[in-house]
Symmetry: C2
Subunit: 463 residues, 2 copies
């Protein structure tokens, strides 16, 4: 025991020494310019955490308008509301920048097993899918576990409904089947495609999402089914049963309609032509309420800029929040922003996208120069109170992507605890009930501090 | 430290002493009759845990027939299948005992908010509800949080749709609103009733279940909505918005149809007229696949008796598995069994119901004499390997209830880890995907050992 106690004492002494050295190093490493931002950062965090204002505004958005697919009246109404609210908030240069968006309509839809048993399948048609004939489509179904198995069956799939039963691993791994699965099945003559939903097994929860038809292939109707239904079809097939499925989808693409990106600013006091953009998308899929994807990102970005304005913190450069349109099935908002702001992209200092949910924030992903990375890492150190100090390897987002690419801009994304994200992604369960007010407030704080400091720095971030 | 070490040493010595005494007491307390059952119990447990036979049979039941509401063809087909399979298993006196059951049909149904926003509500009509007029029913809706709030609003509810937004606490606390809510609202002139689902918040998951119309009150249509939708309606109302809801339900009650309780036995070698019953219900709600409620209970009970038969363990008394019909919306199977077996109830030694899911087993609930409780507690001690040694305060079940009451019989229920039970209860998510093969196997082992030993004891359990 004595020896152990001696060792423990030594460890304790060493620990104090290491901590002291670390603190000194940390103080040395912390640049003097950062000190000027400690007080405003503290005020912004305090203001963000003071109440549930952000959550209440997100509730108002999602309760009042529900889901907001491009082309839906609800998105148009939400845009009008956001513009009016932003003006009431005292934000500057509030405007709706016109974007023409696709107008895909789901219509009535259903799928059922017809044989060897009659039962409903929990389904959601995939975005941009064509419909079936009005009376529906009934055919033998073949379950495959991979593209390799699809290719092995090849011509035997003619006239069949192909069911991809690919268990969810990562989004990147499995979303390929949603994107390309219909056209790859159609190449073998399949008449429709069903997809095990891209997400963890939920509560019989289908996940929609966009598909991409390959040029020159027949366009066949495609829908996601719940993981449980895919497993059941697999077991029935494995028992040697012949599967017959009936699919009915009224899905169709209508002519493009006018929509808009909503833009609001706090104009920079010294270099108004230099801009830090906080981006997100106001559109959602036509299920659930688009609370996590991406109403929460919009409210967090907007609220961050509102707090900066409310506290009288006018940074050197302009802060611009952009609620993009049509991220989900066209990305027309992101493309239109790039085109409309082509001349101004050179003045874009940083674009931050918040589209990974507004759960407990962890920090930011960042793509840019090493020098800029060092700077934003220092800025993130101001976010210890909300736990968002981590700067990850890469950052960006779908909406800001076209501009970031065209302008070769530094880009960032808010990183959060994503453990629930893909369980509710593109489902009826994407509602505000999954979002904790305190987490959303922390996201607001993180975005406010990061965007304010970067917009105010004496020198702009290098590319 | 010395003193502490001295104390620790003393504690250690005392602990050994206490453990020794306990072991001696335990050996003393363990009756000699139990020793004869250690070997068969071990064989039964080994056989149950050897493979996934029970899970595979449950998958076959739920995949092949799907949900099985009284009156649905799927239940009739499942009964025919069970009888045939039980005969193939070599069980004895396999038979279908006729039961007339109600035939409630859901039909097409939907609910939507019409104002202040148009959006779908995730809903399931309540079992036994009447339908709306064919064109649906549109009315102002009023959200209440309790019966007290209902009564406070009173006559102001005339012509309205009442929405009960009662967060789930326990089933007993909240199921009152499902059972009685429609008639209590109708007493004030309400034209329909919507209910926050009786269960924890899921993934926008409505829970169906039976309602009871009070005699002499108007019968109004009633449906459950997802917890998320109830919260949204509450928030809209709290913001001063006037709610209009449209409800369309084709629900209707058709004439009774013939169904059956499925019965199979291992006939007792000495006292065949004395019976231990393993009960469960083969019917389910008309959503999901009735895997947890209660296909799993049926397969576990059946598999327990099949293993006993297969291992050549013919107990002194008769083992009888009963797959009851129509537990969910009528209890006609349980009532019919009581009536058909009135003369035989005196010979019923114990009735065990398995209807709380086949998750990880913990033991049994038991209702009966202290002497019998002491005996089954000893029997449960044989189940340490599967973790099912606990004998809880009370046991029983809906199906066995009428017989237990009529015969004043000892009753039991399999107790399991119920943490997931009410999340999937009466929902589309009640599928086999929630059930672990190893847990189900442990449930089979627990039922097999308990039922076999009680059926074989030299003396029957006292009442």
């Amino acid at each position: 025991m004595r020896q152990v106690r001696g060792t423990l004492a030594l460890i304790a002494v060493l620990a104090v020494a290491v901590a002291t050295v670390s603190r000194v190093q940390s103080q040395q490493a912390s640049p003097s310019w950062l000190d000027a931002y400690r007080e405003p950062a503290s005020r912004l965090i305090g203001a963000a955490l003071r109440n549930d204002a952000a959550w209440n505004r997100l509730a108002e958005l999602t309760d009042t308008f529900g889901h907001r697919l491009a082309g839906e009246q609800s998105l148009a109404d939400a845009i009008v509301w956001a513009v009016a609210q932003m003006r009431r908030d005292g934000l500057e240069n509030v405007r709706a920048e016109k974007v023409m968006v696709p107008h895909w309509v789901r219509g009535a839809e259903s799928a059922e097993i017809v044989a060897p048993v009659r039962d409903r399948l929990a389904m959601l048609g995939l975005g941009n899918s064509v419909g079936t004939p009005p009376e529906g489509l009934e055919a033998e179904a073949v379950v495959v576990r991979s593209f390799a198995e699809l290719d092995a069956r090849g011509a035997a799939l003619g006239g069949k409904i192909v069911v991809y039963n690919v268990p969810f691993t990562s989004y990147g791994d499995t979303v390929r089947y949603r994107s390309a699965g219909a056209s790859r099945a159609a190449a073998y003559g399949a008449v429709a495609m069903l997809l095990r939903s891209v997400g963890p097994t939920g509560l019989r929860t289908p996940h929609t999402g966009a598909l991409d038809y390959a040029v020159g292939r027949p366009r066949i109707p495609a829908a996601a089914i719940a993981a449980e239904d895919a497993s059941r079809l697999q077991r029935l097939q494995d028992r040697g049963q012949r599967l017959i499925i009936r699919l009915t989808m009224q899905a169709r693409m209508l002519p493009d309609v006018e929509s808009a990106n909503v833009v609001a600013e706090v104009v920079g006091r010294e270099r108004p032509e230099e801009v830090v953009v906080l981006g997100c998308h106001l559109d959602s899929w036509d299920v659930g309420a688009g609370a996590t994807d991406d109403g929460g990102g919009c409210i967090a970005s907007w609220e961050a800029v509102r707090l900066i304005k409310t506290l009288g913190l006018r940074p050197r450069r302009t802060l611009r929040v952009v609620l993009f349109s049509n991220e989900e099935n066209g990305l027309r908002g992101g493309l239109a922003y790039r085109d409309a702001h082509k001349a101004g992209l050179a003045g874009h200092v940083l674009m931050i996208e918040t589209d990974g949910g507004v759960f407990r924030p962890l920090g930011f992903g960042f793509t840019g120069s090493d020098a800029s990375r060092a700077i934003v890492t220092h800025v993130a150190s101001l976010l210890a109170e909300v736990g968002a100090t981590r700067i990850g390897a890469g950052g960006g987002g779908a909406d800001i992507g076209p501009s970031v690419q065209a302008g070769n801009l530094p880009s960032m994304s808010l990183d959060v605890d994503g453990s629930l994200y893909f369980t509710i992604h593109h489902t009826e369960a994407d509602t505000i009930d999954r979002i904790e007010p305190a987490d959303l407030a922390r996201c607001v704080a993180a975005l406010a501090v990061m965007s304010y400091v970067v917009a105010d720095l004496p020198e702009r971030l290098s590319r």
